[in-house]
């Protein structure tokens, strides 16, 4: 635990970014990102893209002694600390760094470790015997009314509860209550056979199954000191970019649909379906579940895969360009998205929000570039950022990322090495940690291995640092714009609820 206090101080001062906080019986873990690009105080202006990778730094990722860190050689580093709690408590980090609050409530719920001085002592993931009795924050005021929504929503979405307090149509406060999809993932992973654990890891968050499987596999490989064959590394990136494409296409359509512009959803859903069908033809599964496994890939690219993907990229690029023009040229649609659901750059930086939520609010961070992992160090791609932080900015980040993913798929197909796609993992005991960029943001995976069994593992969804910002973004907007704000975040429920 050496350096714990100093690290917490750096978190509070903004010199480090919280990557994760999780527990095990008798100890609490903390992972932070050091040396991340600072907040762009002046901003880079609209839609400025920064090329990746940046100038390489000599120091590789550093970790606690004995922890293998799956990372590249550029930019930021991951620091992982373990603090034993023999008395069952530790000083709460959320006293000085609010982004840790829900994580600390969760560690208390799941492992009984008490954070001393916790600012909010209500349970978070544990609902207890009376799930309908939850002490929402008190509301006072003559003209205020409350609107409870969920956990069963009107659309086909995951379960969660939103408690709106409104003054007329204006949202004064949104309070979230999550945990409905809590499936005891960490308890299932503890002691599981590696093959079983990998299947569970790929089902923590179905829309990001490739990203989760990849994060888990990379953490496992770091723990064993193994490296997958080169072809597997490139195929993993191919699957990851297809997943990003499919999800971003679905989101752009979905956001516009929530502004009552169904035409965009109809067109984007067709493109998304084409991506999924191509993924199925290439890797044997529409969502590419269980394709990425510890040691490499479970499946090789189908024989006609490269030709199919080449055709897909050309088709999506042409048709999507027309849809972008449609979005850009429809004033009534932008009337809904511009200036709606603003996340300030300061909040995005303090919460270390990843993905489009962070990048739309000026946080220039992408795990593919920094800390970075192969093969992205050998691929050319831009990481778009904007500074407005509204729904419109989050749409544009996705639009730019779709273009970048198409570029990446082409490059990967061009340079795909031949050879085996899977190598046997050596049986070793150790710990590994990895950070992988999913479509939603950075997924953190930590695993402790013993032979072919997982002793304990933790996977942290990017939504942990995005959900709280949605509460902030909704404030002051009309309640009718909430679906629009929510879809522009598209946070994970299952991935968060573990």
């Amino acid at each position: 635990m050496s350096g714990w206090g100093e690290t917490v101080g750096r978190l509070a001062g903004g010199a480090a970014t919280l990557l994760g906080l999780w527990g095990e019986p008798g100890a609490v873990h903390l992972a932070v990102l050091e040396g991340a690009p600072p907040l762009p105080l002046g901003g880079w202006g609209e839609g400025v893209a920064r090329s990746a990778p940046p100038s390489p730094r000599p120091s590789p990722a550093s970790g606690r002694g004995g922890v293998g860190v799956a990372g590249g050689a550029t930019g930021a580093t991951i620091r992982h600390l373990i603090r034993p709690c023999p008395d069952g408590h530790y000083p709460a980090i959320s006293r000085v760094h609010p982004a840790a609050l829900r994580l600390e409530r969760t560690v208390r719920d799941l492992y009984g470790l008490d954070p001393i001085g916790l600012p909010d002592t209500r349970p978070w993931l544990a609902h207890g015997a009376h799930p309908t009795a939850y002490p929402f924050l008190p509301v006072e005021g003559a003209d205020l009314h409350q609107v409870p929504v969920g956990p069963v929503h009107a659309g086909i979405i995951e379960p969660g509860h939103f408690r709106f307090t409104c003054d007329g149509e204006t949202v004064v406060r949104l309070e979230q209550r999550l945990g409905y999809a809590h499936k005891g993932v960490e308890a299932l992973l503890a002691g599981a056979d590696l093959t079983v654990a990998a299947r569970i890891a790929g089902r923590i968050c179905g829309d990001s199954t490739v990203a989760y499987a990849l994060a888990f596999a990379r953490a496992t490989e770091a723990a064993c000191g193994a490296a997958p064959p080169p072809r597997a590394v490139w195929l993993r990136a191919l699957a990851a970019e297809l997943e990003r494409l499919a999800n971003h296409l679905g989101d752009v359509g979905g956001i516009c649909n929530d502004a009552a512009f169904a035409l965009m959803l109809a067109h984007c859903a067709v493109l998304r379906e084409q991506v999924l069908r191509t993924a199925s033809a290439c890797f044997g599964h529409r969502l590419m579940m269980d394709a990425v496994v510890p040691g490499g890939m479970a499946v090789d690219l189908a024989e006609d895969g490269a030709a199919r993907l080449g055709a897909l990229v050309g088709d999506v690029r042409t048709r999507f360009a027309r849809l972008v023009a449609l979005y850009d040229g429809t004033a009534s649609l932008q009337d809904r998205t511009v200036g709606t659901g603003i996340v300030t750059a300061d909040l995005a930086a303090r919460f270390g929000a990843g993905g489009y939520v962070g990048r739309a609010s000026g946080r220039d961070f992408d795990a593919r570039r920094s800390p970075g992992y192969p093969p992205y160090d050998r691929l050319a791609f831009d990481i778009p950022t904007r500074t407005e932080g509204d729904v419109n900015a989050r749409v544009w980040i996705r639009i730019e990322e779709i273009k970048q993913s198409l570029r990446l798929v082409e490059q990967i197909l061009d340079r795909l090495p031949s050879g085996p796609v899977r190598a046997a993992l050596p049986e070793a005991a150790g710990e590994g940690i990895a950070l992988v960029e999913g479509f939603r943001g950075d997924v953190l995976a930590w695993v402790r291995m013993d032979g072919d069994r997982v002793v304990r593992a933790h996977l942290r969804d990017p939504s942990w640092f995005q959900w709280p910002l949605l509460e902030a973004a909704a404030e002051g907007n009309i309640i009718a714009d909430f679906p629009l704000c929510n879809k522009s975040f598209n946070c994970a429920y299952s991935g968060h609820d573990l």
């Binding site: 609902h127 009107a154 995951e158 379960p159 999809a181 809590h182 529409r286």
Partner: protein
Amino acid sequence: MFRTLLSGLRSPLAEPPVADPELAALGAQLDAAARRRLGRGLSIRAVDAGSCNGCELELHALSNAFYDLERFGLRFVASPRHADVLMVTGPVTWHMREALVRTYAATPDPKWVVAVGDCGVGCGVFAASPACVGSVAQVVPVDLTIPGCPPTPARLLAGLLALLGG
């Protein structure tokens, strides 16, 4: 915008509208069965009782131009009070149990429940979890199961057809 709208009218979005013959046959049977059984159509309410979101993505896909669920008289509705069918996904978590029971109670008779996906059918990889009650059938009566992780949209359509006894 008008150019995009017009081009959509001139040529279908997903060409051909029903690319796969299996799907075409399914659709025709489904249509006939839905009419025979219900006169007009079938209203479906999706309930996520703890799914990983994989099944939800494929339920969504049923509405895209390739599958276009509504042409068979099937549609997703926003409230269980408007629904004939509940399509329930996920291993039922203890935290969603009450919500699922209440949603079932809010659905008017006659009603059918479809357990969707390996988790809904048999709890999937989460079977050993103390945080999960179990499969959907352990919480509400189930009329039909559609396995798969997640089931493809074509498989979901085939399942709905079986429900209608087509």
